[in-house]
């Protein structure tokens, strides 16, 4: 365990050192964050007019969903995208060989090899939006409420990670899979809005097949202090199952990996 922590520290120290060369990035990231947030707010404001609302959610509580989405998006930019998009490259160039021959878990290496500060502004502004909107919506923080909210956020992160890693794993067979991750990303934009705003059929699809509901709506409900026990339990179950599936899938895929021939 200690070895993994030390390795993680070295990983991220080298990653940050590598990226400090490009200061311009900071500006671009900030601009992207501001643009994305403004756009999200703009679109959601279009849904709210006199007598109109989104799936029965008040304007403020819908903003909590946007906030959760923004945090997740930031986590993607910081951790998921930089790491998981390199899996296909490693397969293509055969450098996965080096990783497989290290006495360290290959999934750990591939998932946490690098970190990018790009998502930090988004995570920050997302958290800010959550706090502001939640207080506006009249949520009162209790210890158990905060704990549930944190737990739901964590499990939504785990679900997102597992889905993405599972897709990235298919690059062992198909080599070029970043298109598949684009599909995932497009589908996940459904998470910008509360799940109850969708027609019933789609709502079920987004809960069971593509667990978008657990990504943003359930954590937002937890933050607003109105999540049902059933939904919270389902979210934790979903997180455990997807994580185990993605781990098993990776091991299975490695058996097929025959490494790009010299």
């Amino acid at each position: 365990m200690g070895r993994y922590l030390l390795t993680l520290r070295r990983f991220w120290a080298t990653a940050l050192a590598g990226q400090l060369e490009y200061q311009l990035n900071v500006l671009i990231d900030l601009l992207a964050m501001a643009g994305n947030l403004a756009g999200s707010l703009f679109v959601i404001s279009l849904f709210y007019g006199p007598g109109r609302s989104l799936g029965g959610w008040s304007w403020e509580s819908a903003l909590v969903v946007v906030g959760v989405y923004t945090v997740l998006d930031g986590a993607c930019s910081s951790l998921l995208r930089p790491n998981l998009s390199t899996i296909a490259t490693h397969v293509q160039q055969g450098t996965l060989d080096f990783i497989l021959l290290k006495p360290i878990d290959s999934q750990f290496w591939l998932s946490f090899r690098t970190v990018s500060p790009a998502g930090l502004p988004e995570i920050g502004s997302g958290l800010g939006l959550i706090l502001w909107a939640a207080s506006k919506a009249g949520a009162s923080p209790t210890p158990t409420g905060c704990l549930t909210a944190a737990l739901m956020l964590a499990s939504s992160l785990v679900i997102l990670y597992s889905l993405w890693f599972g897709l990235a794993t298919t690059s062992i067979w198909f080599v070029k899979t970043w298109n598949a991750t684009e599909v995932l990303r497009a589908a996940l934009t459904a998470g910008r809005y509360p799940i109850s705003a969708y027609p019933l059929g789609l709502r079920n699809l987004l809960t069971v097949v593509l667990p978008v509901a657990f990504l943003t709506t359930v954590p937002a409900e937890a933050i607003l202090g109105r999540v049902s026990v059933g939904a919270a339990a389902a979210s934790l179950l979903m997180a455990t199952v997807t994580l185990m599936l993605c781990r098993g899938f990776w091991r299975y895929a490695l058996r097929f990996y025959s490494s790009a021939s010299s």
Binding site: R3, T7, G94, L101
Partner: protein, 327 residues
């Protein structure tokens, strides 16, 4: 107790086939045909600790596949394999700690950062503490004649410097079994020689076993007393390099320096004329007729100097691969 023990090792790949052109593409669109390719078949050999063994073979003979099976990257489709007391394909941590793989055309160093940063990552991965890591880096850097290069970003290093840094990164955990796939590829002659000296040095110092493939025969002749010749996926020869030369080339090369030049026809009764350059003549003479022919040459002609050697190993092996002969 051998460190590598392979019994009837084999590997079959499934490869998709496609005809060129638009028609082929469209046909491929609807039904994919594939065929099985036997990359390695029935390969048996064993290697003792501390040996330096060269894998020889033409492109696609199965060298790299074999090396990857030995290191645990490729699952064998058949046969038994025991490397350093482990089944390599299970890739247990204790096995991985005792081996390393270096590939001449692939790199593990972080491109934008100095090699030292990559070393620190590797040290953490292999669980080395800082002082020990530093000691080993210094020791290896000295052996490899690396100095300030270690603080320059990898992208600014020359190919030779980068290869030396790769070797350092690969050997930091002091593996006892080294798999080297074309470690000198693309290097200039000097850099090649330095890598060779280093490998021999490392082998002596730590008693490490080295398995090596290379296109440069000089690597093999300098490092490997024993070679395995792989041809079309099977083991064609296992033994010393000299014996291989003898077996492959039934002739020896006799170089003569004459007092006066003579036409080629004058030598036809002694052996096959390889080259004539003024007073210098090169003859290929069958091994069993060598002594008699040399005696006659010395008696019949005015010879100033005479030298007997094996034909260059590159030529012998090259001929073998070109003709594709397997007897």
């Amino acid at each position: 107790m051998p460190i590598v023990c392979a019994e009837r090792l084999s590997k079959t790949y499934r490869v998709a086939q496609k005809q060129p052109g638009l028609g082929g593409t469209l046909r491929h669109f609807f039904w994919r045909r594939s065929r099985l390719v036997e990359a390695v078949r029935d390969l048996s050999f064993s290697i003792e600790p501390g040996e330096m063994v060269g894998f020889l073979g033409a492109n696609g003979a199965g060298k790299t596949t074999t090396l990857k099976m030995l290191s645990g990257l490729v699952y064998p489709s058949g046969g038994n394999l025991l490397v350093a007391g482990h089944s390599p394909q299970r890739r247990q941590a204790s096995f991985l700690r005792s081996i390393t793989l270096v590939m001449g055309q692939k790199q593990q160093l972080i491109w934008d950062l100095p090699p030292l940063d990559s070393f620190r990552v590797n040290a953490a991965v292999y669980g080395l503490d800082d002082t020990e890591a530093k000691r080993r880096i210094n020791e290896l850097a000295e052996m490899l004649e690396l100095g300030e290069e270690l603080t320059r970003p990898v992208r600014k290093l020359s190919l030779g410097e980068r290869m030396k840094a790769e070797l350092l990164a690969a050997l930091l955990h002091r593996p006892s079994l080294l798999f080297l796939d074309e470690p000198t590829l693309g290097l200039d002659v000097n850099a090649q020689a330095r890598v060779r000296t280093f490998l021999a040095d490392y082998n002596r110092r730590h008693g490490a076993t080295v398995l090596l493939t290379s296109h440069y025969m000089a690597d093999i002749t300098a490092l490997c007393p024993r070679v395995l010749l792989i041809h079309q996926g099977g083991l064609f020869y296992d033994g010393s390099l000299e014996a291989l030369t003898q077996r492959l080339s039934p002739c020896r090369l006799v170089r003569l320096e004459l007092k006066t030049p003579l036409p080629a026809s004058a030598f036809s009764s002694y052996g096959q004329v390889e080259a004539i350059d003024g007073r210098e003549v090169k003859l290929l003479i069958a091994r069993d007729q060598l002594t008699g022919a040399v005696a006659r040459l010395l008696g019949d002609l005015e010879v100033l100097d005479l030298e007997v050697a094996d034909p260059p190993i590159e030529d012998v092996i090259g001929q073998l691969f070109q003709k594709g002969v397997v007897q």
